[in-house]
Symmetry: C2
């Protein structure tokens, strides 16, 4: 039985490429990222005694935290020496495939100070944080309270006599929980607490609480703090808990950009702060997730495509080498759509960043919030779809690698485990699906009720184009099909394909809206979300589309794709 | 804000049960298992210094193997003292949620000797294995060869001069790979090798090869053996590799129940051995997986249902405690069908064992293999469906537990990781789906072509009952709906529901067969498998069913169920 070496096989596969991979890298990742990546690779390679990861799979939880803490220390030194930026530090996380104990210091603590601290407070906290003199964490989630932020139990009560706030955890369930960086590293926590002044509850605000001594790193009086122990993944980050027993901090520590409290307990909330601005932050965080998901899935499909090119199994001719498993439809069917989706996610993230910028400028310049609602709904849907696709896409990559995918050395298991929280954090995917589905349904219902659609966002445009004729129970507009359909027109006419997809969205949303409003079927939010998620993931329904022209489109362009990709 | 203690909440939920859980335990698990479980729990509880698992999540891979080896040692002693049976030892694995280094010694090495060794060989190897004087493993898979057993490269060549076999790994890819128990524990391997005698290749046969000294446990000359390193899960088992450099063993070591070789190199293969018997073994192994999957999913849903009963989030009245998340449709929708499926899997496994027994008796008593083909197809489908349902069901349980599910302490992460190989081993699930789909399609095609269906197995009975009228392109028989449809008749008439489901199978299979054979669409095995898997998992299609009676059935009995369960 013949055998073919890995090098020969891979070289042959690579020769099949119709493009220059370096140009593609520049095109999809952009020059800035390519430069950052090269800079970081150089740092990492030059200091293997610190950044080498070859023993990572052999370590237990403690060993992993210790290893990454050592790396964080070096990164902090390089930042202090101005040899690295904060963005570079985040890029190291990506290159090393491992988040360390300072991740949330950079990712949450400093950005919160940036946004919510006054200039004086920035001087006191942010400058020290930037210089790694203090290490912070962002303490919002409690043992008993995740999605329901208003239900947080931790209190910060103003004590006028001493001009202090008393931070307290009144119950076990009010213990701050899952806080990244808190288990081992943090000296300070930005604590989200119910702000109580003169017996009045002002809602949840952030307050900076020192938790460990900057001298000997011991917990400060009244602070019970510790590490969460081993997790499914993300084990280099020291998620931890903290419980406060009436801990006093100066009034100064309440972040006062959006609320001010004077030494008489008088509260001022600036009138020019629109609470909808916080939505805009959530939208931004989710758009980041979309980009990261695209990048991470690209790692996994690279591993899986390389492996399935090299791995051979079965063949017709015993005198020849067996067939690469990538040549079997059972593998292509699962893997090739994932390759396409990585490109799609990266493209979508660029597009979405641009839309976000447009939306942000409209808010900042003209106080125009009209784009925000749709932006929010789209960010929920994108975050859900991209994180599901990446996490379970990595699972598919692992599965096509068979037994070899089960070894930690495949890299796919830690990737799956480390990225898994993306389907939970920043809004659980099931909750987010409801938000998006409810939004689409509402626009569809407005359109059906012939109430004018005032907004001009892309979703509204779809439903304006494809209005619903309620008496006839069908979409009235049919302009979609006016252009002549040949392979050439479709390939060169992106708008036509977009129209087909838009038609599909409108069709599915109207169908659901009809079931609920006209046929009076009983649906709850979960079923609505599930219906929309399934409906939009299924191939276009030929029977519903009707005339011969549509049939042609379907046969020529949709079916061949959906057979593999289930668009 | 009020708060409700865990004890109070759980007691209240338990009071809602309409049955005695102990009786249910007996009913679904059977008295034998309940007794074994109690016996094992007693052993485990009495020796916490050995069997306590509370530190398991803190250990790295080496620590985990060492811990479980200590437990295996104690189990072996208890077996030697006749205080435990081999079955008890397997039950410990279940109770402890952890497989150890001797798992494959008991699960594969001894059963192979049992089936394929002569009485003399049993005396030499099996007795010592039972007494733990030797520890064995089953070495079939190679680095380059998994599903394609005929492609194994390891050779066992008869050397007449010394009356020995020379076992050799001619290439890197021929290295035995993923062999449980081989990394650390095994002294002997049952090696599957190409049997070569006088330059003739007789195919793959098992041969016992000593690999480590029973004196100092060092690898024997010519044997390169080691551990696989860390894996996604199953880390208490020492999967390992071994490479043979022309290792000689006596002719006696070739297991000679199904082939005999004398000292002149004459080969005899008994004429009464039907190769189809090996199918029967595969069917049995898969039926075991179905049972295990039901038991393991029941652990996960217990954790998730308890947690979501206790976990509260959001509520309408700020003076009352928040609502248990189990009360939300978004959670019920995902969790309750899984609870139902655990019962279903356990029930199915009992039913399938009984069918297997019937099939086995027919073979043994009357040499009647007529039931085996369908049995094989059903076992493939069941194994695929049950392992997918359990592995991804555990994932759903983890997801509904939110952040808390991500902690190893939830138990759900190790369960997911340890059970994951069930979708790969004993036939990869994607390959098995093809086998089942192809079988159903073939029976449907036979029925359409009006060739008589000779077999009388349950699948054939479905297609006999619902014959296809090719010119009319519909199922001709309509007797399904003859009985009067009221809630009472359906609840008391199990046959009616079975008929509905059977109708669905027939309908979907005929639809697919028509696409392929009549409409000449191009389908490959992967697409066929995917179509059947999706089609059978989707709710019954109301539109396709037609008349008013069917509509009634659908509205009353199918829709309410499928809304939640997606039958």
């Amino acid at each position: 039985m013949g055998s073919v070496s890995t090098q020969v096989t891979l070289a042959k596969e690579r020769d099949n490429a119709t493009f220059d991979p370096n140009l593609m890298d520049l095109f999809i990742n952009g020059e800035a990222w390519v430069n950052t990546r090269n800079k970081i690779l150089d740092v990492v390679r030059k200091q293997p005694e610190i950044f080498d990861m070859s023993d990572i799979y052999f370590l237990n939880r403690e060993g992993e935290v210790e290893k990454l803490l050592k790396q964080e220390k070096r990164v902090a030194e390089l930042i202090q020496q101005k040899k690295l930026t904060d963005d570079d530090a985040m890029a190291i996380t990506y290159i090393q495939d491992a988040s360390g104990p300072y991740r949330l210091h950079r990712g949450m603590f400093m950005p919160t100070l940036e946004r919510q601290a006054t200039d004086e407070q920035k001087k006191a906290f942010l400058e020290k944080a930037r210089n790694y003199e203090i290490i912070g964490c962002y303490a919002q989630t409690e043992m008993g309270h995740g999605s329901n932020v208003r239900g947080l139990e931790t209190t910060a009560t103003y004590i006028q006599e001493t001009d202090e706030f008393e931070v307290d955890s009144p119950t076990l369930t009010s213990t701050k929980w899952w806080i990244g960086g808190l288990g081992v590293a943090a000296t300070h926590a930005c604590v989200m607490a119910q702000l109580i002044i003169k017996n009045k509850n002002y809602g949840v605000y952030p307050i900076v609480v020192p938790i460990r001594s900057t001298v000997d790193h011991k917990p400060l009086p009244g602070v019970s703090v510790g590490d969460h122990g081993p997790k499914m993944g993300f084990n280099g980050v020291d998620n931890g808990f903290v419980n406060f027993d009436k801990v006093r901090v100066p009034r100064f520590n309440l972040l006062q950009r959006y609320i001010t409290v004077d030494n008489q307990g008088n509260v001022t909330i600036p009138s020019d702060v629109d609470p909808r601005v916080t939505y805009s932050t959530m939208v931004y965080v989710r758009s980041n997730i979309v980009n990261i998901m695209g990048k991470e899935l690209s790692k996994a499909v690279t591993i899986a495509v390389r492996y399935t090119s090299v791995r051979r199994q079965f063949g017709d001719d015993p005198n020849k080498s067996e067939n690469p498993v990538l040549d079997y439809p059972i593998v292509q069917y699962r893997l090739i759509p994932l390759v396409a989706k990585t490109y799609m996610m990266l493209g979508m993230s660029h597009e979405f960043y641009a839309n976000y910028e447009r939306c942000r400028m409209a808010i900042e310049k003209n106080n125009d919030f009209s784009l925000l609602k749709e932006m929010h709904a789209v960010s929920c849907g994108l975050k859900k779809w991209c994180s599901d696709t990446t996490v379970y896409g990595i699972d598919t990559c692992r599965h096509v690698c068979g037994g070899h995918g089960f070894s930690l050395f495949s890299g796919l298991n830690t990737a799956f485990a480390n990225l898994y929280p993306n389907i939970i954090w920043e809004g659980d995917n099931f909750v987010l699906a409801q938000q998006t589905a409810r939004y689409i349904l509402k626009v569809a219902e407005n359109s059906m009720n012939s109430s004018p659609i005032e907004s001009d966002d892309p979703t509204s445009q779809i439903f304006k184009k494809f209005k619903y004729d309620l008496p006839k129970r069908k979409i009235s507009n049919n302009k979609l099909w006016n252009s002549e359909i040949t392979p050439q027109t479709v390939v060169s006419n992106e708008q036509l394909l977009l129209n087909i997809l838009a038609y599909k969205v409108a069709h599915q949303a109207y169908t659901l809206a009809t079931k609920i409003n006209v046929d009076k079927q009983s649906w709850n939010d979960s079923l609505v979300a599930d219906y929309m998620t399934r409906a939009l993931s299924e191939p276009l329904n030929r029977e519903k589309m009707g005339d011969e022209l549509r049939e042609q489109i379907f046969k020529r362009y949709i079916e061949p794709v959906t057979k593999y990709a289930k668009l």
